[in-house]
């Protein structure tokens, strides 16, 4: 049913339609509304045969999901930011054990300095954990991806993170079409684990693997994720057949074919980018968009196909690898290895800094964009700070000192 709803609520209702059997949660902004919604749905008896467990930490949240999944239950949890870091050990454990857990990430910066707003640093920190990572572009997709994620997870025996931009998407009220139980049931059959903890057929899960076999175990994980690309693409197609709308797929493009400049994004910022592209195309500019939905496994061929004809590529990064640039650009550069297309890393929107149409227009108006640039960086503040540092060794907290220098942006906070 189409309704005007907070994205988090839509995610909660959609996850409930997937009939999870164990939901565990530890609250962290901006994931809270999702698990609050699920708590209510379970407590009200609207979701049968589901245990909702309030745990004492994110480490426990994902551990409970791991135990439940190993025991053959469809398990779900959600987290963000510090919470994802706190469960990092279990993140690798879940993928190593091949447990098809689905976890929503309400993407948020990681500290210090503490910051509750949106960027992609959290899920990026787990990009090589062996999880599948899907980024939602819209509120509708944030909800829909969960149905697809359970199906992908269970078909590939890989856990899936559904990355939803914190606040920007999680707290946005928008029209979302919540599918019917019948449609979800038709698309997502009950979970049939490949192996599980069952006293009638006892197995050992989680044995210690030594140097003689560890490489092979890891290789098989690598191989499984590469093969998952095809499954993700296929199931995205099946989703469209079942629900009559697009969801997932490896990458999406908007006027990218034949465009001279292609902007590469992950997640919800592509909406703003599309508006700017329309404006500039009306004025004759040759600009398009490549939105990567499936960030892990990275769809090298799909990215390469879309970008092969571009004259320049701008990768809009909501995360920063200090002293390197951005993780997405590194992957895009690898996808375009051999081509001489200039690729620029545009770090933007860190810690919830709004990515505005005005800034995007300025960026796209530039003849040349450096290999690494930062959108809307207050250079005066940085220069003042660096200058001061040259005069006397810095003993203060760098980020706090920078913030003091910033001109307060009136409506950004």
């Amino acid at each position: 049913m189409l309704k005007q709803v907070e994205t988090s609520r839509a995610v909660a209702e959609t996850v409930a339609l997937c009939r999870p059997e164990v939901v565990c949660a530890y609250p962290i902004t901006p994931q809270t509304h999702i698990v609050e919604g699920l708590a209510e749905i379970v407590k009200a008896g609207k979701l049968k045969n589901c245990e909702f467990i309030n745990v004492e930490s994110e480490f426990a949240a994902l551990s409970v999901a791991v135990g439940a999944s190993a025991a053959g239950a469809r398990a779900y949890t959600a987290t963000a930011s510090q919470g994802l870091l706190f469960m990092a050990e279990v993140v690798y454990n879940a993928s190593g054990l091949g447990l098809p857990i689905v976890m929503t990430i309400g993407n948020r910066a990681i500290g210090a300095p503490i910051n509750i707003w949106n960027d992609h640093s959290d899920s990026m920190s787990m990009r090589d954990s062996g999880w599948i990572q899907l980024h939602a572009e819209t509120a509708q997709e944030a909800a829909d991806l969960h149905i697809l994620a359970f199906r992908i997870a269970e078909q590939t025996s890989s856990p899936v993170m559904v990355c939803v931009d914190g606040f920007v998407l999680t707290h946005s009220y928008e029209p979302v079409d919540i599918p019917t139980q019948t449609d979800v049931d038709a698309f997502l059959p009950p979970f049939e684990p490949q192996q599980m903890l069952d006293p009638s057929e006892p197995i050992t899960i989680g044995a210690m693997v030594g140097p003689e076999a560890f490489m092979e175990v890891r290789y098989l994980q690598h191989d499984k994720l590469i093969r998952a690309l095809e499954v993700i693409a296929d199931l995205s197609g099946s989703f469209e057949e079942q629900f009559g709308r697009e969801c997932g797929s490896l990458v999406r493009q908007y006027h990218a074919s034949g465009a001279e400049t292609v902007i590469v994004t992950l997640g919800s910022v592509s909406g703003t980018v599309k508006d700017v592209i329309d404006e500039l195309r009306d004025k004759g500019a040759s600009i398009g968009l490549l939105n990567i939905c499936c960030y892990r496994p990275f769809p090298f061929s799909a990215v390469q196909r879309v970008l092969s004809s571009a004259r320049r590529v701008l990768v809009l990064e909501k995360s920063l690898a200090p002293a390197i640039g951005g993780p997405v650009s590194s992957d895009v550069r690898l996808a375009l290895a051999g081509a001489r297309t200039p690729i620029s890393t545009v770090v933007a929107g860190l810690g919830g800094r709004p990515i505005t149409k005005a800034s995007l227009r300025d960026l796209l108006a530039r003849e040349e964009v450096e290999e690494l640039t930062f959108l809307d960086l207050d250079r005066q503040a940085i220069e003042a700070h660096l200058k001061r540092q040259n005069h006397r060794p810095c003993t203060s907290f760098v980020s706090a000192a920078v913030r003091e220098e910033m001109n307060p942006c009136p409506h950004s906070l």
């Binding site: 930490s57 551990s63 999944s69 025991a71 398990a75 006293p199 050992t204 989680g206």
Partner: protein, 329 residues
Amino acid sequence: MPAQFVKFYQTGTFTAGNRLLTIEDRSVQSNPTRSNALTSGHRACRGCGEALGARYALDAAMKAAGGKLIVSNATGCLEVFSTPFPETSWRIAWMHSLFGNSAAIATGIAAAYKAKGRPDIRVVAQGGDGGTTDIGLGCLSGMFERNDDVLYICYDNEAYMNTGVQRSSATPPAARTATTPAIGEHPGHEFGHGKSVPLIAMAHRIPYVATASVAELRDLEFKVEKAIAIHGARYIHIHVPCPLGWGSEPADTIRVARLAVETGLFPLFEAEFGTVTERMRIRRATPVAEYLKLQRRFAHLFAANADPGSIAAIQKIADRNIQDFGLSA
């Protein structure tokens, strides 16, 4: 204690089931059709108290659960020596995830089977003292607090043995470990450190808490069977000597464990909903020195230049246990 103690006359111990008894009165371990949860061929050291404790505990749990048992195991000796891929010594449904999350894994397993409408499937989480009293305490407390339907068993050998005998929060004072060497003015581990997880468990007012020892295996079996029959969060803390870490003779494991009980250093008791209900009384407390001198980790206490105050301070701990838990016969 409610368990019937059966003296095994040939050896003078209580450890084995007396075959003159009726089948119901025999120990689980004396039954040739027992589950043999942790079977032979594993790679534990000679005289390993933990392997002994785990075998007795899980066979008793399997019996009490009618074979419908799943076990979650923390990282540690027990996990490493039992499951070197591609081998396993576990003849039960068993899972290892991480060091600090054994209790939470068990919570998840229990929740899964609850959601599937299978309350007959019982769940045990287990770990060593490191995985229980230190890194796993958060998950353990969460499991207790929610009264999850899990029996947690801690095999306490009083240090991080798997990594090479480093100090844990269960290491006794004055004990030499790799990170509390027997050097300096106060050799060995500090006095005044550590915690009692059984008491912490009791503070959660969970249905059942017990301590047990590999010296009293009938009692251990009894407590495990009793715990399995109860629903909700349960905790059993088992004292398991480690010949390697303690510097005791492998043949002395039971003897050392018994002395820990008889000195009062490791009180055996049961508690229900936070109140001690039963304790194993000590007729004549053995001086702690008898226990300490069997272990090279305490050898510095008996050196010529040793501070006599140290043994006296350990004696005080035993005396206080005897008083606090009402262990005097």
